[in-house]
């Protein structure tokens, strides 16, 4: 059994931010990098399936510069068997469709039984790469999976909708599944595993044809501070009424 897990090294901002000269991205000096939280759940899910099957291979694949190998090492320390990193300068600031194109050739060449990715990355929050990748691979897909059971030629998954309602879906395999947080408890890597992960192979590949980017960042900026809270007037009963209206409005979508 071979499972490919797509992982991403995400950047997180602290309280301060500066932008690059062209203002199209944040200055990397202001970012702290780590493995995308969703991807550790995806990796854990892959490892559980491999361990349950008794044998198999979990391959971590990432699109990123050399530093991105740190995040991949995390997945390897958890137990992924090997990794592949895809990069070319064209991929700087790439949109998720472009990233999916970069992933597609490599993933296809692995002939996986299953492809897992996180629902979204914490820095871009596009929630798109996994689904786009599925299309490029010609594979069925389910997004936002909170439970996964492999069958014979199909898998039964839980797709979690807003508000917690679960859609039980039968999906033909091989398939691409985007994994939601909370599906499992990602295992911790001991220091030994972390050290061993340093020795594991990470292959570097160039992407194929990336096509036209699906979007381009024109500029990034700090959102203007609001004027502070809109204050609700009136007595307790009026305030309560308005609160209910606001809650109803926000919750119904």
């Amino acid at each position: 059994m071979k499972i490919v897990v797509c992982v991403k090294q995400v950047g997180a901002l602290g309280d301060e931010v500066e932008f690059t000269d062209d203002e199209r991205d944040v200055d990397p000096d202001y970012l702290d990098y780590a493995l995308n939280e969703w991807d550790s759940y995806a990796t854990e899910e892959a490892l559980k399936l491999r361990d349950a099957a008794g044998d198999g291979e979990v391959v971590a694949v990432t699109v990123g510069e050399e530093d991105a190998e740190d995040a991949m090492r995390r997945a390897l320390a958890m137990g992924a068997d090997r990794g592949v990193r895809i990069w070319s300068d064209e991929l700087v600031g790439a949109d998720p469709i472009t990233v999916a194109r970069a992933l597609a050739d490599v993933v296809r060449s692995e002939s996986p039984d299953l492809v897992l990715s996180g629902v979204q990355s914490s820095d871009a929050v596009q929630a798109a790469t996994g689904t786009a990748l599925a299309e490029l691979l010609g594979l069925p897909r389910v997004a936002v999976v909170t439970k996964l059971e492999l069958g014979n030629g199909t898998a039964t998954v839980h797709r979690e909708l807003e508000g917690g309602l679960i859609d039980v879906v039968e999906v033909d395999t091989p398939a691409v599944l985007t994994i939601q947080t909370g599906i499992n408890e990602p295992r911790y890597a001991t220091l030994r595993a972390i050290k061993q992960a340093e020795q594991k192979e990470i292959e570097l590949r160039e992407p194929g044809d990336l096509g036209t980017p699906a979007s381009r960042v024109r500029r990034m900026f700090v959102p203007p501070k609001g004027e502070g809270a809109e204050m609700l007037d009136g007595d307790a009963s009026a305030v309560a009424q308005r609160i209910k209206e606001l809650v109803d409005e926000r919750m119904k979508s």
């Binding site: 820095d123 786009a132 069925p140 389910v142 039980v168 979007s215 502070g228 307790a236 309560a240 009424q241």
Partner: protein
């Protein structure tokens, strides 16, 4: 060149985000078409026949409930026939299942979690946030005549007013659905995980004594909210640690964060300030929570709580 809205529905009911998509569509150039893909699309056409909608395109499918291949193939059909310049979907679990695939397959422009769109020089500019909502960014789509956008719910007002749209049935090929709906499982109450709750009612020192907690526990239940709290109540043992919001507790990002009697210590704000809508009630007008809240009331929280209880 039209703007195509794909209506979202669940278990026979139109989802409110659809009305927001219509508002967004109306703000762009070109006629507005709304696609209703369902087993019985006729049951939903009235709900989307609103002022500003020019055309309703119904696609009848075999499947009762959403399946991503079905939607994708139906929308592909509509795109092939209509060549819309923008395809507007909600940034929802459903759309995550096919929107990006559509863009990848047809080579369209794409952006999701978009909260503002406008026309510029014949093209579209979309605005979304990056890096955990700390910065915003403007996106453009050079080289694309057609763009798939997943719009953030509650960013537009729902459209209203009766419309006079034409209704056209569109034939879609019978879809091979490789991911098939089997069953529903209702949402569980289960163990408290405040990080996944959509609505948090959060209490702080302002509630005074432990005895008062019960009133707010009941209010949370009545309002359909999950109870959370700031650190002092957890330190004092009134509330379990799993419910603590803050730097040494959990970081939450619910749709609604209703803060009652919380002053807004830095460590607490760090745990909730990116919540969708923050409503704060505190009797201190200088409380720091008002700096991050979207709505605030300087009021006696017990009185407000009592009044809220009456409404539910």
């Amino acid at each position: 060149m039209s703007v195509l809205v794909v209506a979202e529905h669940l278990r026979g009911e139109l989802r409110p985000v659809t009305l927001e998509l219509i508002s967004a569509a109306k703000s762009l150039d070109g006629p507005v078409a709304v696609a209703v893909i369902a087993k019985d699309p006729g049951a939903l056409t009235d709900a989307v026949n609103l002022e500003g909608v020019d055309e309703i395109l119904t696609v009848q499918v075999e499947q009762e409930e959403f399946e991503n291949d079905v939607y994708q193939q139906a929308v592909e059909q509509l795109v092939a026939e209509r060549s819309p310049r923008a395809i507007l979907l909600g940034f929802t679990v459903g759309s995550m299942g096919y929107g990006p695939a559509l863009a990848a397959k047809l080579g369209l422009g794409f952006a999701s979690d978009v909260f503002a769109v406008r026309e510029e020089g014949g093209g579209l500019i979309a605005e979304r946030s990056f890096y955990g909502a700390k910065v915003n960014g403007e996106l453009e789509f050079p080289g694309h005549d057609s763009v798939v956008l997943l719009l953030r719910p509650t960013s537009w007002q729902p459209a209203e007013g009766a419309g006079s749209a034409s209704v056209t049935a569109v034939q879609a090929p019978s879809a091979t659905s490789r991911a098939r709906h089997k069953d529903w499982v209702e949402a569980q109450a289960g163990d408290v995980d405040i990080t996944t709750a959509d609505f948090l009612l959060s209490v702080g020192r302002g509630i005074g004594d432990k005895e008062n907690l019960e009133q707010f526990e009941e209010l949370a239940e009545s309002m359909g909210a999950t109870l959370s709290s700031s650190r002092p109540l957890v330190d004092a043992g009134w509330v379990p640690g799993a419910r603590q919001v803050g730097q040494s507790g959990k970081t939450v990002k619910p749709k609604v964060y209703l803060a009652l009697g919380i002053s807004g210590a830095v460590q607490h704000l760090a745990g909730m300030k990116t919540s969708g809508t923050i409503i704060a009630v505190n009797n201190d007008p200088e409380a720091a929570i008002f700096n991050v809240a979207h709505y605030g009331a300087v009021a006696d929280l017990f009185e407000v709580a009592e009044e809220l209880e009456k409404l539910y």
